[in-house]
Symmetry: C2
Subunit: 240 residues, 2 copies
DNA sequence: GCAAAAGTGTTGTCCTTACACCCATGC
DNA sequence: GCATGGGTGTAAGGACAACACTTTTGC
């Protein structure tokens, strides 16, 4: 152990950094979507011999001089063609043995998008949407990562208006409730749910109705992000 | 861009990983403490020529085959001698120019500890506690990191019983309220604050009182982590 | 006309807030 | 005895949970 209270002479930053071990970095994207009342996630099949045929998140190496955010956006863009999509860093996973090719540290991002707003690009490796609770074994530690991201989504969707990223611009209250019920895995009271969102004042009534439904059509709403930004609470509320 | 729908033959994991660029990784610890009604953070002075004398978080390189959690715990232990302290990963920072010695990616951990429960070790570089809102310029992007961690703490302390990590095992309600007021930067109503915590049922009344105070001494309590684990809410509460 | 989901209100309970007075200790 | 903060109760308002019937559409 080093001695205490030793005056240290200034060090050169480059020399210091050169002495550090280096590690390959990747990003993995957990891309959530919503379809037919189920939460979906976009996956491929791994092309590594060890995991042949197992499902895998969308990931890639981080290029030299590339930001992690930039790398995650690139992965998303290459696969879905979408930019300006909700994308947020969730956690960095670093168990030394998590990758069979040697040590690889991965930073995981979660993304939410409307399945209908894009077409899949780069269909390599059987890129497909999978229903979240019907996914079997996965490659690497991706199952664990997916669980972390699902819990993260369950928490975030209650604190922030993220559900709207999964829906069309115009949506019915039923669709909105379906998103919450699927993600939180609960049944909610329809009347209280509607009252809740009505009282928030962030939903704009369009003059349109659902079409092609086999029952009484519901009104379509849009989410008012401007109102939300102005009114959102700066919350103080101790609650655990 | 790669062609679509090409069947890919299995790849060897090691070959693949060897082709990835590698990056030096570090961990930085934002170690929070509480003293004299102020939120404190443990900092050193940077010994890099570029940042000479500027304040810096406690960090170190991540050793080969070392987990990020392990590295963060090591940094904490080397400086404070403490293990089994609250420590949680917050975010990974990766701007290519954030370190003057070249690209360095850092994963930041936040820790909460009771200043009196430990003695500082390795006093190199003027290791000291600093009051959170009296900190000037810092080295690297550490000011920004500190702000992210402070907001993280403000949020977490309202959702989870973290405040108790900053206090002695036995504490008065006044001390507890001081922690919340300092971290959230608000004034709280004393009667309502006490009622709130009393109704939660997580505080155990010790039969002891404060001593050496210049006014009516308050009762001392302990936090009942067992009760908390059993009763904590599995919250469904949409609120934004 | 039947099935299926939309739309709507009230009541009780609980939580939160605002607010004022007496009490115990050190000096 | 005075200064300092500890300890307590109540009333009003707001949010949430529980709950049932009528309406509109497609078939």
């Amino acid at each position: 152990m080093a001695a205490n209270n030793i005056a240290v002479s200034p060090r050169d930053a480059i020399e210091l950094v050169v002495s550090y071990p280096t590690v390959p970095l990747t990003v993995d994207c957990v891309i959530f979507g919503f379809h037919e009342n189920s939460l979906k996630v976009l996956l491929i099949k791994s092309d590594l011999t060890k995991y042949e045929g197992k499902l895998s998140l969308l990931g890639d190496k981080v290029n030299a001089d590339e930001d992690l955010d930039t790398a995650a956006n690139r992965v998303l863009r290459q696969r879905t063609g979408m930019t300006d999509v909700f994308l947020e860093q969730v956690h960095t996973f670093s168990k030394p043995d998590r990758h069979p090719g040697g040590r690889v540290v991965t930073t995981v991002y979660a993304s939410l998008l409307n399945i209908k707003h894009h077409q899949l690009l780069l269909h390599d490796n059987e890129l497909k949407w999978h229903t979240i609770n019907q996914i079997g074994e996965m490659a690497f530690d991706h199952k664990q990562i997916l669980e972390v991201c699902t819990r993260w989504l369950q928490k975030r969707i209650q604190e922030q208006p993220l559900a709207f990223n999964l829906l069309p611009v115009k949506f019915s209250l039923r669709q909105l409730q379906n998103v919450y019920e699927a993600i939180l895995d609960v049944k909610l009271d329809r009347r209280n749910f509607r009252k809740k969102f009505a009282s928030m004042g962030f939903l704009n009534d369009t003059d349109e109705m659902e079409t092609h439904v086999t029952h009484r059509p519901g009104k379509l709403y849009t989410f008012d992000f401007v109102q939300y930004q102005q009114k959102k609470k700066n919350f103080i509320g101790i609650d655990f």
